[in-house]
Symmetry: C2
Subunit: 515 residues, 2 copies
């Protein structure tokens, strides 16, 4: 099909140039999203169109995550889009947390009107309004009531891939939209300890996915009370640093205690024939991860994709001035493409075959073709020219190291497929290491509130002491726009004093401005 | 996880017995859906919960279909759930066709009310109401307007996996629900002939999927004017016969002409620098296919799954009276499970590994365990008992041939994995042949309207002559509840006279009562 190269630009600027990160980080982000053909705003307020290149990334993310969910015994299911208003109201904290951003269905029919055309039929009003799910705890726990009678029915380990709606007022492609795609896991357990282990297991799966597939290093640990999911006892999260030093909450895993079981009157008979409420978890990641992926690796030339998530891993660009030069290089390109596709399927690539495209559009200059594929983030480019053909070799260029330093010349064509696979593995590792180095070099310490206020004006995360209260957290947020992102599991044991109140603190926590 | 075995029964009957098809076909269907743990009604009117076993079938269907879509150059994307009412009204036929079954969002916020609890905030009324998509032609063609400028932007070959809502008044699990899951392809082409070829290609992909994956034979051809999609120039369909002789529309591919391009003002510059409207197709299948799958193959013992769609292909049941007898057979079962999982991945299984489960729940009798897995439709059961172990053999039992005739004794354990794979292929073929034989033996002919009226009271499809008018079609539908299901491409060339009006007919068409 014809490629959609994103005709929209972030502003009214030159369509062929990406804004640099230094110039305007926010425009840079939108330029990448548009120019790499990932997504665009729709005419429906706050809703995005995920374009083929963006959706292919989401499919790869689903592949990686779904595999890990199933390896740990979870199965997928599907629950209704609609939540009756009365269910919604049953868990108070959650109802309060989401009430302000709910899309509400009130009618079920349109009709023709002689003067106004098609109108909503006033006679087709629902007895009870339906909320479009912003998250599915309520409808799912209402269903679990019928599924759970005995300890033998537990655990229930279910995940759902779905769309959800949260009526956000200020939206930004992938990062915050009224409708988005996600997965939401909802589990029920006979014991508290088992549910807490599940909460921990799932945040660890998110960490592994972020680090091993997205090559995005994350901090892992609980959220503060002020930042947890409404309805949760506590929330564990993975938190990443974007290239502008701001934080992105990339995934959350909630221990819900017995809150939803109680709200929906779900009980089971335990082994001693006593009735108990089961224990719950829920956990989710969304298309927001695509925003995180972009802001972790991409550069001023365009998108940079880690090989495990790249829908196309390799572009082969045959060169040559005329038909005589071109015919053999195109033939070699096709052979290499076929060899790559036929390699044994590796777990690393989610057991999919390696996808290589050939760009033989000779109407465009080599430089122009190179730039287009760099913009789209293809991890490895193979160049084959007439001189390479004489030597039966090719050139490999890495997207993560643009320019000469990332080029390997004289790779024998016979071994090129293996060399490419090796390079793809190397690029994956390099992207992670580079992002981790960046993140670690932007972790700062502040011991006084004055230092903190100065430091927070620069990019990066800040380790600081806090007294553990919601009041202090809110005061800091109001005064500095920084929030507590995470209380990392692996933080050093270092008691101290709150930088604001001077009260005792058990250890530093991570503050940052966030998306 | 604990298996959800479906505690609901269709009526108030014995929970452990499936109603037979002869007794009550409709109850039989619902018993299978419930007892095999495929789906259940939710508390939200007309919406179903797709349970893990049902959703796993949908995932397998997605795997097969998505592969074929991508092989033919299509890519997935995602468009908004919401359609502004004004877009909806732009294509008149479509608006009329769907107006009566639209869920409408009118508000975007809830609030707390001191007397009524949580209420819809009357101040948060949308300026323009949003329709939950019943199908996405309008929102997608509104988007394509910006994507299509030149013939170089064509074709656009896009598919979307999504949920849709049609407010049906009488619902039945999988077959007709208010919300369902589906895929919808939406393509744009520079020429009429290319769009018509696409329409044809996609119905052929549906035929192949139905026949090669679902083992469900289908008739292929256009719908009559009265049965086509509102907004289409014509609709091609695949039509299947269920075991009660009724028809199920299983997939449709629409040639939309320039209707949506004109309604949404989409034009492109052709190679001669003239502006033209592009040509469109759309095509879809839904979770309704799961209903079709059940009603094509299942029997009075439970679900019967074709191996290509079975999420679990094999159940291994170790036998033995005591620990001494059991230990070695369980060990052999584990080895066989591992061998099956490690076999080279075949295209036949969508490049997934073969899944075998071991049922070593010795608290249940062998017969009880066999029955449970027969209910769930697992294609092959492997029995390993102490005597088998002595001979290093096992017994293979086919789900498609319950009882002794489907058992193969004395299969050497060393070659069991290969024998099982061979058997899975055989079962796939057998299920298709059997269903085709059933379908073909229930195709009848009627030459007079009286014969037709008699014949239509018995199960099956009827080949009959019809004068090609909508009036006659409607008269027949009113008087007999039978509709024209398909005008098969491969119908014999046999001019005749309409059974109702005596006017000339170009050939017989297929009539049936349908789901």
């Amino acid at each position: 099909m014809a490629e959609q190269k994103g005709k929209q630009s972030a502003g009214g600027k030159d369509n062929n140039k990406i804004t640099s990160r230094a110039e305007n980080y926010s425009d840079w982000y939108l330029d990448i999203v548009h120019r790499a053909g990932l997504a665009e705003n729709s005419d429906v307020r706050g809703c995005m169109v995920i374009k083929p290149q963006g959706y292919a990334l989401w499919e790869k993310m689903q592949l990686g995550l779904d595999g890990m969910f199933k390896e740990t015994g979870h199965r997928n299911a599907y629950f209704p889009l609609f939540i009756p208003k009365s269910y919604f109201a049953k868990e108070e904290q959650m109802a309060e947390g989401f009430a302000k951003e709910c899309a509400v269905v009130t009618h079920y029919r349109l009709k023709s009107d002689p003067t106004h055309g098609i109108i909503v039929d006033p006679e087709a009003k629902l007895e009870e309004e339906l909320i479009i799910r912003p998250t599915s705890e309520t409808i799912i726990w209402n269903t679990y009531r019928n599924w759970i009678q005995s300890y033998r029915d537990l655990p229930i380990l279910i995940n759902q891939w779905a769309n959800v709606v949260r009526w956000e007022m200020r939206t930004r492609l992938f990062l915050r939209t009224a409708e988005f795609l996600w997965q939401e896991g909802h589990t029920a357990h006979a014991t508290q300890i088992e549910a807490e282990q599940e909460t921990q297991q799932m945040v660890d799966i998110y960490r592994r996915f972020a680090e091993e597939w997205m090559a995005m290093p994350v901090l892992v640990g609980p959220k503060s009370e002020g930042q947890k999911f409404p309805g949760a006892v506590y929330t564990l999260c993975i938190e990443a640093m974007m290239q502008d030093g701001r934080a992105l909450q990339a995934g959350t895993s909630h221990f819900l205690g017995q809150n939803f079981a109680k709200a929906f009157d779900v009980t089971f008979q335990n082994e001693k024939a006593q009735r108990e409420h089961p224990w719950a978890t829920s956990w989710g990641v969304s298309t927001r991860l695509i925003g995180g992926l972009i802001m972790t690796h991409s550069d001023d030339t365009g998108l940079v994709l880690p090989p495990r998530l790249a829908p196309i891993q390799v572009v082969i660009v045959p060169l040559g001035k005329n038909e005589t030069e071109r015919a053999p290089v195109i033939e070699a390109a096709k052979q290499l493409q076929q060899t790559l596709r036929s390699l044994p399927r590796q777990e690393f690539f989610g057991y999919q075959s390696i996808q290589a495209v050939i760009d033989d559009d000779y109407q465009k200059s080599p430089g122009f073709r190179f730039a287009e594929w760099e913009l789209r983030g293809i991890p490895v480019r193979v160049e084959i020219g007439p001189k390479d053909m004489e030597n039966k070799t090719c050139v490999l260029a890495r997207r993560d190291q643009p320019g000469k330093e990332g080029k390997q010349m004289g790779i024998p064509l016979t071994g090129a497929a293996d060399a490419i696979v090796g390079l793809l593995h190397q690029i994956q590792t390099n992207l992670f290491e580079r992002a981790k180095k960046f993140r670690d070099s932007n972790l700062f310490y502040a011991d006084t509130y004055d230092d903190f206020k100065k430091q927070i004006e620069s990019p990066g995360f800040i380790w600081a002491h806090w007294d553990g209260t919601r009041e202090t957290e809110e005061k800091i947020a109001e005064e500095t726009k920084a929030t507590i992102r995470c209380i990392p599991f692996n933080r050093p044991s270092e008691p101290g004093k709150c930088m604001v109140t001077g009260k005792p603190s058990a250890g530093r926590v991570i503050f940052a401005r966030s998306y």
